[in-house]
């Protein structure tokens, strides 16, 4: 762990990313305490510009809602959707990839055709279709994002399992009479973990972008405040109140950037041999 942290720290960008993410996480956790009122409630006259009134540092939106409160509550939704949809995508992708890589042959062929199918169809359009047909709610948003983002996991895990499958320690486990399931779970997958962790951190970033795009199009959960929704709602008043679109966008960029930087740092720290060569 110490060695891991030492290597992670070498990447300055990754440390900055970690700091930004910690701040966003803090906002998400603090939201209900700092802004106990619903972010949907009207607090002042509409279109109050930022820095013009005490207590409302970022002003109000077209319906007189507190922008800062929306930003804090939006952080909750972004992080929640990002994390949970990634976990669900891993739960779909890891078993498919592991089974395909471990058993090979027909199972591999069928599972990989299935994966390829999902990888070929335009993922954003599929997410739109899913949410348009099943009424948008947080659970469906998460599910839709997971459904379009698992294929890279399956492919990665399959590749890792294939390369580990015939190593000595796996053969030793087979000889000692362990079941296939035990071998996959206890011997193979733990060794395939580092690249999965790196991919997962990048997937959280992509999921947050995807969630904001869906909310922007009006396909988010209508009951939760999210950054994408804030931008979508402010789109029609771009000329008169540009800051209403600008501010939540900055929040998205910072969060996604932080996660991407962390992903690169994890890659450097977990795969010392594959480190980006700094010659």
């Amino acid at each position: 762990m110490k060695a891991f942290w030492f290597r992670y720290r070498q990447n300055r960008g990754a440390v900055i990313g970690l700091v930004i993410l910690a701040l966003v996480l803090l906002c998400a956790v603090a939201a209900p305490f700092l802004f106990p009122r619903s972010p949907w409630s009207m607090v002042q006259r509409p279109f109050l510009p930022p820095f013009t009134m005490d207590g409302l540092p970022l002003g109000t939106d077209a319906l007189g809602r507190d922008v800062l409160s929306g930003l804090f509550h939006g952080a909750r939704v972004s992080l929640l959707v990002g994390l949970v949809s990634t976990v669900v995508a891993l739960a779909i992708g890891i078993p498919i990839g592991a089974l395909a890589g471990y058993y090979g042959g027909l199972a591999d062929d069928m599972l990989m055709r299935f994966t390829e199918f999902f990888q070929t169809i335009p993922s954003f359009a599929l997410a739109i279709v899913l949410l348009a047909i099943f009424q948008p709610s947080l659970a469906y948003v998460i599910l839709a994002i997971a459904i379009v983002s698992w294929p890279p996991v399956a492919r990665l895990v399959r590749g890792e399992v294939l390369s580990l499958r015939h190593r000595e320690f796996v053969e030793a486990a087979t000889l000692s009479g362990q079941s296939n399931l035990a071998i996959i779970l206890k011997q193979v997958l733990p060794n395939a973990l580092p690249p999965i962790i790196v991919l997962a951190s990048l997937m959280v970033a992509t999921a947050i972008l995807l969630e904001s795009s869906l909310s922007f199009l009006g396909l988010g959960d209508p009951n939760v405040m999210s950054w994408g929704y804030m931008i979508g709602a402010a789109r029609t008043v771009l000329r008169t109140a540009w800051w209403l679109s600008f501010i939540p966008g900055i929040a998205i960029v910072l969060t996604v950037l932080a996660l991407n930087l962390i992903g690169e740092g994890l890659n450097d720290a977990l795969n010392p041999r594959l480190r980006r060569r700094q010659s």
Binding site: F117, Q119, T120, I121, P122, S123, F124, A125, L126, I128, V129, L130, A132, I133, F134, Q135, A205, L209, S212, S213, F216, L217, G218, L219, G228, I231, G232, R235, L238, R239, W242, S245, F246, G249, I252, V253, V256, L257, N260, L261, R277, Q278, S279
Partner: protein, 323 residues
């Protein structure tokens, strides 16, 4: 080579058929009566209308029979009827398709040209502040939501500076012809196409840079150097040519994302393509249109993948032999 193309073609057809099955299943998995789903949540959907729909689409028949009817129609490009717009879906899509093709193709060219150029520059200047700058800009673009860039670009270049039109396909009421019309559409195209291309520019830049650095470490580059070739020749003829292979693969994989991104860009810039059509259909819950656009965009992606596969086969003979 012909066998290679045929194999890819067969695969593409299978994927398209699978998407049709998926569409069909989705209509039936939607909560509520499939007839009501097809009619859209049109208030006009009274019982008699729904009954007509049920008969017309054989919704009272067994599931397999329904699937067959649906597939047969779709193969003949009958993508259903939009009761909202009072028009066949296929017709709606054909009307809008050229605008989307123009937008996505332009965005694609912009992103490839800019991305590869920036990637090559960054790789050649590896370790300098120039490389750091290009890489940092790419990292930021990569983290920026497409729809937000589009909004900000239209704010800056259209509202504040007034340089470029911020919405639409051409100047309304101007009725330009000939070259004037081309220039007018071109002017309207700049903002949507460059914002759509931006995200992908970042991806191609990172890929090209990494791939160039990877290839320049290989032995054949050392050989070329030992032969006394000039550096510019080595870079162009040996390094770049090989470094572009993974970029082509990536471009093929990204095609679907560009089509998806078109929904967002067309929405922001009121660009009259199938992406905008889909956005309008979402707010109207016009399912036939949504599914139709989904099907056609998947077909576009498959076609594009087919082209990149063939390109790849031409550029790298090893691939052809492997399949």
């Amino acid at each position: 080579m012909l066998g290679f193309i045929a194999a890819r073609l067969v695969k593409a057809v299978f994927i398209l058929l699978a998407i049709l099955v998926l569409n069909f299943v989705l209509i039936h998995a939607a909560p509520g009566d499939p007839a009501a789903v097809m009619a859209g949540e049109a208030g006009a959907a009274d019982e008699k209308f729904l009954q007509d729909l049920r008969e017309r689409f054989g919704l009272d028949q067994p599931f397999a029979m329904q699937l067959w009817t649906y597939m047969r129609g779709a193969v003949q490009l009958d993508l259903g009827y939009s009761y909202r717009q009072q028009m066949p879906v296929a017709e709606l899509i054909w009307d809008r398709l050229p605008a989307t093709l123009l937008l996505t193709a332009t965005a694609f060219v912009i992103s490839i040209v800019l991305g590869v150029t920036a990637g090559v520059l960054a790789a050649q200047a590896q370790g300098t502040w120039w490389d750091t700058l290009i890489s940092a800009v790419a990292l930021i673009f990569y983290a920026t939501p497409l729809f937000w860039v589009a909004l900000m670009a239209s704010l800056l270049f259209s509202v504040v500076l007034g340089w470029l039109p911020g919405f639409g396909y051409q100047t309304i009421g101007a009725n330009y012809t000939g070259l004037d019309r081309v220039l007018d559409v071109g002017k309207h195209l700049i903002l949507p196409a460059s914002t759509l291309g931006l995200f992908f520019t970042a991806i191609y830049m990172r890929m090209t840079r990494a791939s160039m650095l990877e290839v320049s470490r290989l032995d054949f580059v050392k050989t070329a150097r030992a032969k006394g070739l000039r550096n510019s020749v080595i870079q162009r003829r040996h390094v770049l040519r090989n470094a572009l292979l993974p970029v082509i693969t990536l471009a093929g994989l990204q095609a679907g994302q560009i089509v998806g991104g078109a929904v967002l860009t067309e929405t922001v810039f009121a660009w009259p393509g199938i992406g905008r059509l889909m956005f309008e259909a979402i707010s109207q819950r016009d399912y036939n249109v949504i599914l139709g656009v989904f099907f056609i965009s998947a077909a576009m992606v498959l076609l594009f993948n087919l082209v990149t596969d063939i390109l790849y086969g031409i550029v790298d003979p090893r691939i052809r032999i492997a399949t």
